[in-house]
């Protein structure tokens, strides 16, 4: 009997005795939430007055364990980061799994443990969740959907309309670590590297920025699918401004740059899971940069460019060799199932 219990069966999702057991073994054991412990149909939150941010995202990454994280950690970080770059302090999360029949319960335990740890780190409570099992082949191991509610930071006033000529563009760290780590963990390459995914919750790095110079921060975005290039194109598009960035100032780890050369990737388009760009008033840029660089998650932060006075939506990069190149949105050649 014992051995059978180590794999997920369809019955684990059927609502009966096995469901109750797996709920205790995974959810209640790892997620310490008073609201969740009641096992009622909804989680209850009490929030003070103010504007709320509410977001959701699904995670289908392959493989589910990778250097620097796993799908559990990623599913919490991703949603926390969506809140943080909106200027919201994460308060409550939901966590819903679709599990493939036959999945190893030990693996699920590891994933729940790392999700719980990440949520605690970001001071966000997992207040509700769901656990469904589908037949073998109907999903690939595990898919997770999380949603999050955050309270808007009182000093945050973000908006692409605020992006104006002279603003500086800050990147909080190196590009491409996540994509490079996933690429390497997927294939059977004889390449030994130290590259790890940058998967991290950015709320503790980004929210203090609003305390420091809230109204000077005009825009903040995390750099997931499509990478820095796509994010800057979107911001330039909605603000109707030209951005000029300097290739020389964009931090990329040597190992990641080598992987890019080997696989033909352009690091500007690689997905990241723990990096953001901040567009802010030039007067406050240097104090913001010093703060970011004083934090472990922002130690490689740099000013990488500025907003020009031209009112044309485009992103131009001055290359290391002194040429200029127009940066465009990602055009469908990205690694699939990266997050």
């Amino acid at each position: 009997m014992k051995e059978r219990e180590e794999k997920i069966l369809l019955a684990h999702g059927a609502g009966g005795e096995l469901s109750r057991k797996i709920l205790h073994r995974l959810v209640l054991r790892y997620f310490h939430s008073p609201s969740l412990a009641l096992l009622s149909d909804s989680g209850l939150l009490s929030l003070q007055e103010g504007m709320l941010a509410y977001t959701t995202d699904s995670y289908v990454i392959n493989p589910i364990f990778f250097p620097g994280g796993d799908i559990g950690k990623l599913s919490i970080c991703g949603t926390i980061n969506d809140l943080a770059v909106s200027g919201a302090i994460p308060k409550a999360l939901t966590f819903a799994c679709i599990v493939e029949e036959g999945m190893d319960i030990g693996d699920l335990e590891k994933i729940f443990a790392s999700a719980a740890k990440e949520a605690e780190l970001a001071k966000a409570e997992i207040v509700a969740g769901d656990f469904k099992v589908v037949e073998k082949g109907a999903a690939d191991s595990l898919f997770i959907t999380t949603s999050g509610i955050g309270l808007l930071h009182p000093l945050a006033s973000l908006g692409y309309r605020k992006i104006s000529s002279g603003d500086l563009i800050i990147l909080t760290g190196t590009l491409g670590d996540h994509s490079a780590a996933i690429t390497l963990s997927r294939g059977n390459f004889s390449i030994r590297t130290e590259i790890k995914s940058d998967c991290a919750s950015l709320s503790l790095l980004l929210l203090p920025c609003f305390d420091l110079c809230g109204s000077s921060i005009h825009s903040m975005r995390d750099l997931t699918r499509g990478g820095l290039a796509t994010t800057l194109c979107e911001l330039s598009d909605s603000s109707e401004r030209t951005f000029l960035i300097e290739e020389e100032d964009i931090p990329i780890k040597k190992s990641v740059a080598t992987i890019c050369d080997l696989f033909g990737y352009d690091p500007l388009y690689l997905a990241n899971e723990g990096k953001a760009v901040i567009i802010c008033d030039s007067n406050d840029a240097s104090s913001l940069l010093s703060f970011l660089q004083s934090q472990p998650l922002g130690k490689d932060a740099r000013i990488i460019g500025r907003v020009l006075s031209d009112k044309e939506s485009r992103v131009v990069m001055r290359t290391k060799s002194g040429g200029k190149r127009l940066i465009e949105m990602l055009q469908g050649d990205q690694l699939p199932r990266i997050c």
């Binding site: 294939g187 352009d266 990069m317 001055r318 060799s321 040429g323 200029k324 127009l326 050649d333």
Partner: protein
């Protein structure tokens, strides 16, 4: 050993000004063909194209392996990928390339087992894990990738793995360059030769181009300084009226090339005539299996299947573009009905395809 910085702004500026003064010594348009798709890509990526003098045109040649693969070969691959109990292992670049009626991407959506790999070595793992299935590979690429396919087949033979089948679509670059010159349509003053291919073949293979056709050749690497130094050396030969083979990429390329890789190829393949998109049948420009390796030939899989009749892509100017006669912008389909999202010719799909590259960088700064 630390290598010098091959993207130094100062070095690039010096080379650009040297290129500019050389080109002023000519009162006509100088046309240099870069034979390699990665060269095409990097001229744009480094933002160098806009810095060239007005009378220097750098045009793309038949150097994108996916682009020169003709429909007939693509159709064979697509048909075989959809057979029962076949797993197709392919490089990502091939997925979206349209054949006559379909593409690998489309067949995958319809249920074919198609997996993207990064090294042919992965086939050995797949084939051992799935002994009851046929694992199909399409060997696409020039001399750069042909040794990998040869090594795969030799290793499969050694390990007695018999469920691997391979389409040999590999091509040799030199016969294509000669075919272009024999046709004489593209008015080329010199060739920027591919560094990656030359690592394997060595630079001496280009000597007939210099000696017989009197066209200067320079083998170049892929960093900004490599590209500019390559152009500088070519321009210097052109304005001085010389035609030699020079090697800019001496840190990687030697006269005879990588003999071990060449032996690897010769141990498994022999030369054969091959059909190229746009260029037609070129003698001795492809590979076939030596008799003892015939059991690996994937053509046996489709011997009973009728392939779709080839259609004429009247409007698509792939052929002229691969020959350097037209630029992608001169094709009536370019960025209108042919885009990377819905490509009509393979040059719009591959990351090394000149149409895809020109599309990506089509807006002017």
């Amino acid at each position: 050993m630390t290598l010098p910085d091959f993207s130094s702004r100062e070095d690039c500026a010096k080379l650009l000004s040297a290129i500019s003064s050389l080109s002023q010594r000519s009162n006509r348009m100088i046309r240099i063909m870069e034979v390699c798709g990665t060269h095409t890509m990097n001229f744009f990526r480094y933002g160098l194209k806009d810095l060239f003098p007005e009378n220097l045109a750098v045009i793309s040649g038949p150097g994108c392996p996916v682009c020169v693969t003709p429909d007939s070969e693509l159709d064979m691959l697509i048909a075989a990928s959809s057979l029962p109990n076949v797993i197709t292992a392919t490089f990502g670049d091939m997925m979206r390339v349209p054949g006559t009626n379909s593409s690998l991407e489309r067949q995958k959506a319809l249920g074919a087992d198609i997996r993207i790999i990064y090294s042919p070595e992965e086939l050995l793992h797949i084939a051992s894990e799935e002994p009851l299935k046929t694992v199909l590979f399409s060997g696409v690429g020039f001399e750069t990738t042909a040794p990998l396919t040869a090594a795969l087949i030799a290793e499969a033979m050694r390990r007695k793995i018999s469920n691997i089948k391979v389409f040999l679509f590999h091509k040799r670059i030199l016969p294509a360059m000669e075919a272009l010159l024999q046709e004489g349509l593209s008015r080329i003053d010199g060739f920027l030769c591919p560094g990656n291919v030359s690592v394997i073949t060595g630079w001496k293979i280009y000597e007939p181009i210099a000696e017989i056709y009197k066209k200067p050749c320079v083998v170049a690497g892929f960093e900004p300084v490599d590209l500019l130094l390559g152009l500088f050396l070519l321009l210097r030969q052109i304005v001085e009226g010389r035609a030699l083979v020079e090697n800019e990429y001496a840190r990687a390329v030697i006269p005879q090339g990588n003999l071990r890789c060449q032996e690897e190829i010769e141990a498994v393949f022999s030369l054969t005539d091959a059909s190229w998109r746009g260029l037609g049948l070129i003698p001795d420009s492809g590979f076939t299996f030596l008799p003892e390796y015939h059991s690996f030939d994937a053509r046996a899989l489709i011997s009973e299947i009728s392939l779709p009749p080839l259609r004429q892509k009247n409007e698509c100017k792939c052929a002229e573009i691969l020959k350097g006669i037209l630029s992608p912008e001169e094709c009536p389909l370019f960025s209108r009905s042919c885009t990377p999202e819905s490509p009509i010719g393979p040059c719009m799909v591959s990351s090394e395809g000149s149409c895809a590259i020109h599309y990506r960088f089509r807006k002017k700064i």
